[in-house]
C-alpha cells in the first residue's frame, strides 16, 4: 500500500488478506477468537489460523432447533448467532476473585497474578447484534477498576456486517443491525462471494483498526463494490426471520404483571435457563466461597447464574419467585422492560439465540405479540390501556 495515499476508510481484501489480518493480530500479541466448526455447531474459539473460520458453512435455525448446513458458496460468515456469544470471553463463566490463607491472627487475602492480567483478545467476526450486546454489558459491568473493564479495554474488534440473517433473527426490529450501528469496533467487514471472487469490504472504525489494516494486502474498493456491499446489508434488513414489535415494550412489560399469558408460557417453560446462558446480554452471577479440606486455604469464585434458578431469589424462609411462571416473567420483563429503568436501554439485541436454544422453542417475539393482544383486549376499544 502506498503510504502517500490519503487515509483509506474502505479497502477490499481477499481471503489472503484475511490471513494477513490474522497474522498481523497474532504479531501484535492478540489471541484471535472467532467462529469455527466444532461439535456440529459454529462455536467461538481461539483460532490457530484464518483457515479455521467456517468457510462454506451455514446454519438452519428454528425454535428449539439448530443444524449446520453446507452452503453452496465458500462464505466464512454466512451463518448467524451460534450457541455462544462474546460474553464468555469478556465476562467468563467461572472466575476466581481471590484466595485466602488462614493465619494466626485470622486470614490473609491474595490474588493470583495470572488472574489479574487480562488476556489481549481480538474478536474476529462480531455481528452487529453482538456488538450492541457488548456495549450493553459494558453499561452494566464496566465499573472503573473492574476486571471486566480491564479485559474490555484491550479487545480488538473486527465486526462483520450481516448479509444473511437467520430464520430466528430480528436485529432490524430491535435497531441493532443488520449493518453495524455502533461505534466501538476497530474494523468492519462485509463479505461478498460471487463471480467477482471471494472478497471483503473493510471499513475502518478506529485508529488501531487503521494501523492494523496497513499490515494487510488490500486494494482500493471501487464505488460499485462499496454500493454492492451496502445493498446486500440493506436487503438483509428486509429478510429478517422474525420481527419484534419493539415500541412501548417497557410499558407493555410493566402493564403485564397479571397477564394470563404467563400461565401459558409457564406450561412450556422448563426453567432450564438455556436462554440466559445463550443470551449475549444476560450477566447475572453468583459468588461461591470454598475451602480445601483442611480449611487453611479459601477461595472466592464468581460464576454465571440464572434467574431461572429457584435459589436465585432466596430469602430467609423461601424464594420470592417460587413458581416457574414468576421466573419466566422476571426474565422477559427484565430483558425487555426494567432493563430500561436500570440501565437506560433495552437488554435485547434481536439475536434470536433464546429462541433457538430453548428446548421447548419458546419464541419471545410471539410472547410479546400475545401480551400486546391480551392487553388490548383487557383495555377494550373505549379505554386507554
Amino acid at each position: 500500500m502506498d503510504a502517500t495515499t490519503t487515509t483509506p476508510t474502505s479497502r477490499l481484501i481477499d481471503t489472503r488478506g484475511l490471513e494477513d489480518l490474522y497474522d498481523a493480530l497474532v504479531e501484535e500479541g492478540y489471541r484471535v477468537i472467532g467462529p469455527t466448526v466444532q461439535d456440529d455447531a459454529i462455536v467461538l474459539r481461539e483460532l490457530s489460523s484464518a483457515q479455521e473460520l467456517p468457510f462454506g458453512w451455514g446454519v438452519r435455525l428454528q425454535p428449539a432447533g439448530y443444524r449446520l448446513r453446507r452452503r453452496d458458496d465458500t462464505a466464512a460468515f454466512g451463518h448467524s448467532a451460534g450457541p455462544q456469544s462474546w460474553k464468555r470471553f469478556l465476562h467468563p463463566p467461572r472466575e476466581r476473585l481471590w484466595s485466602a490463607t488462614r493465619t494466626a491472627d485470622g486470614f490473609e487475602l491474595s490474588g493470583d497474578r495470572a488472574d489479574d492480567e487480562p488476556p489481549r483478545y481480538a474478536f474476529l467476526g462480531v455481528r452487529p447484534c453482538d456488538l450492541r450486546a457488548i456495549a450493553i454489558q459494558d453499561r452494566v459491568l464496566a465499573h472503573p477498576g473492574s476486571r471486566y473493564a480491564a479485559r474490555r479495554a484491550g479487545v480488538f474488534i473486527i465486526a462483520v456486517n450481516c448479509t444473511e440473517p437467520g430464520e430466528t433473527c430480528f436485529c432490524a426490529s430491535m435497531g441493532t443491525g443488520p449493518g453495524v450501528r455502533d461505534p466501538g469496533h476497530d474494523l468492519a467487514l462485509t463479505e461478498l462471494v460471487d463471480d467477482g471472487g471471494h472478497r471483503f469490504l473493510v471499513e475502518v472504525g478506529s485508529q488501531q483498526g487503521l494501523d492494523m489494516l496497513w499490515q494487510v494486502r488490500s486494494k482500493r474498493a471501487g464505488d460499485a463494490t462499496v454500493q454492492q456491499a451496502r445493498s446486500a446489508v440493506e436487503a438483509a434488513a428486509g429478510r429478517m426471520g422474525r420481527q419484534m414489535q419493539a415500541d412501548g415494550l417497557r410499558g407493555l412489560m410493566a402493564d403485564s404483571h397479571q397477564a394470563a399469558r404467563w400461565d401459558d408460557v409457564a406450561a412450556r417453560c422448563l426453567s432450564c435457563g438455556n436462554c440466559t446462558m445463550a443470551c449475549p446480554t444476560c450477566f447475572c452471577t453468583t459468588i461461591e466461597d470454598t475451602t480445601d479440606l483442611t480449611g487453611d486455604h479459601a477461595e472466592r469464585w464468581q460464576h454465571w447464574d440464572s434467574c431461572f434458578d429457584l435459589d436465585f431469589s432466596y430469602l430467609a424462609g423461601g424464594s420470592v419467585r417460587s413458581t416457574p411462571k414468576s421466573r419466566y416473567r422476571q426474565w422477559l420483563t427484565h430483558k425487555l422492560g426494567t432493563w430500561h429503568d436500570q440501565f437506560g436501554e433495552s437488554g435485547c439485541v434481536g439475536c434470536g439465540r433464546c429462541i433457538v436454544w430453548c428446548p421447548t422453542g419458546i419464541d419471545l417475539t410471539e410472547e410479546v405479540r400475545a401480551l400486546r393482544t391480551e392487553r388490548a383486549q383487557r383495555s377494550g376499544p373505549w379505554e386507554r390501556s
Partner: protein
C-alpha cells in the same frame, strides 16, 4: 472488590439468636456507613451476607447486628472478640433524616428491623431540636426477642416517645400485647407534618405503610427498608432486583411512593 479485614472488638448477645458485633479495622477501613446502609460480612471459609449497620462507634469501628438463620449468620454470631471478619461496603441508600427535619419523626420497627433503624434514631436524638416529636414504635414476637431492650429507657430520656408491644407475652411481661400496626393511628397526631421510617418483615411494612397513608401521611414521606437476595452488593450480580430497582444500589431504603406499586405485585 476484596473484603477489608476487621476483628471483633466486642460481642453483645441481644437475644437467643441475635448478636451485635463491634468490628475494628486491621487495615484501611471502609467509608463510614450511613444509617440504613449495609455491608457484606465475610466469615472465613463459610460465606458472605448483607448485614445492616445498627449503630455508631468510636472512630472507624463498625456496629452490626446479626440474626443467626443460616450457615454464614450462625458463624458470624459465633464469632468471639479477636476473630477476624471480612467487610465490604458500605452499600445502599440511607434513611434520609432531612425528610423529617422540623417535623414529627415516627420510627416503626418490627423484630430485627429495629437494628437498621437504630442508627437513624440515634442520629435524630443527637440533634433533638431539629425534630418535633420523635416516636418509636417497637414490635417483637416475644419479650425475649426484643432487641436493645436496655436502651429503650435511655431513648425515652433523650426525648423519644417509645411504645413497645409483643405478639406473645410471658408471665413477667407487663407491657402491651398485639401487633405494632395497631399503634400507628394513635402515633400520628399531625399527618401533614409527619415522616415515617418503617423496617421489619415485608408484610409488616406493607400494613404499617398502608395504615400511615390511611391516616393521612403522604407516601413520599414514608421510607421502608426492602430486602432481596444479595450476592455482590455492587449492582453486578443481578440477584437483588425488585422490578426496576436493584436494591443494593436503589435501596435498601426506598421511598414508599416507589415501593407501594412493587409491593402490590406477588412474586415480583
Amino acid at each position: 472488590m476484596w473484603p477489608t479485614r476487621y476483628v471483633v472488638a466486642a460481642r453483645q448477645a441481644e437475644s437467643k439468636d441475635t448478636v451485635t458485633l463491634t468490628l475494628r479495622p486491621v487495615e484501611n477501613p471502609i467509608e463510614p456507613p450511613r444509617p440504613g446502609q449495609f455491608t457484606m460480612l465475610y466469615a472465613y471459609g463459610v460465606g458472605e451476607v448483607p448485614i445492616s449497620v445498627s449503630g455508631f462507634a468510636r472512630g472507624q469501628e463498625l456496629v452490626q447486628t446479626i440474626r443467626a438463620i443460616g450457615a454464614v449468620t450462625r458463624a458470624l454470631c459465633a464469632a468471639a472478640p479477636g476473630d477476624m471478619i471480612g467487610v465490604r461496603g458500605p452499600f445502599g441508600t440511607q434513611w434520609q433524616l432531612s425528610l423529617a427535619e422540623g417535623r414529627d419523626l415516627l420510627v416503626v420497627a418490627g423484630g430485627v428491623g429495629l437494628a437498621p433503624l437504630r442508627p437513624a434514631l440515634l442520629a435524630a436524638l443527637a440533634e433533638r431540636a431539629g425534630y418535633r416529636r420523635i416516636v418509636l414504635l417497637v414490635g417483637a414476637r416475644s419479650p425475649d426477642d426484643l432487641l436493645f431492650a436496655r436502651e429503650l429507657e435511655t431513648w425515652r430520656g433523650r426525648g423519644a416517645s417509645v411504645r413497645v408491644t409483643v405478639d406473645r407475652a410471658d408471665a413477667d411481661w407487663k407491657g402491651e400485647v398485639g401487633l405494632v400496626t395497631r399503634f400507628i393511628d394513635g402515633a400520628v397526631t399531625d399527618p401533614a407534618r409527619t415522616a415515617a421510617f418503617v423496617c421489619g418483615p415485608e408484610i409488616m411494612m406493607r400494613i404499617c405503610a398502608h395504615a400511615l397513608v390511611s391516616r393521612g401521611v403522604a407516601a413520599e414521606n414514608i421510607l421502608v427498608s426492602l430486602e432481596r437476595n444479595m450476592r455482590c452488593g455492587a449492582a453486578l450480580c443481578g440477584h437483588c432486583q425488585l422490578g426496576p430497582l436493584l436494591l443494593c444500589r436503589d435501596g435498601p431504603v426506598v421511598n414508599y411512593a416507589d415501593a407501594a406499586p412493587l409491593a402490590a405485585k406477588q412474586e415480583l
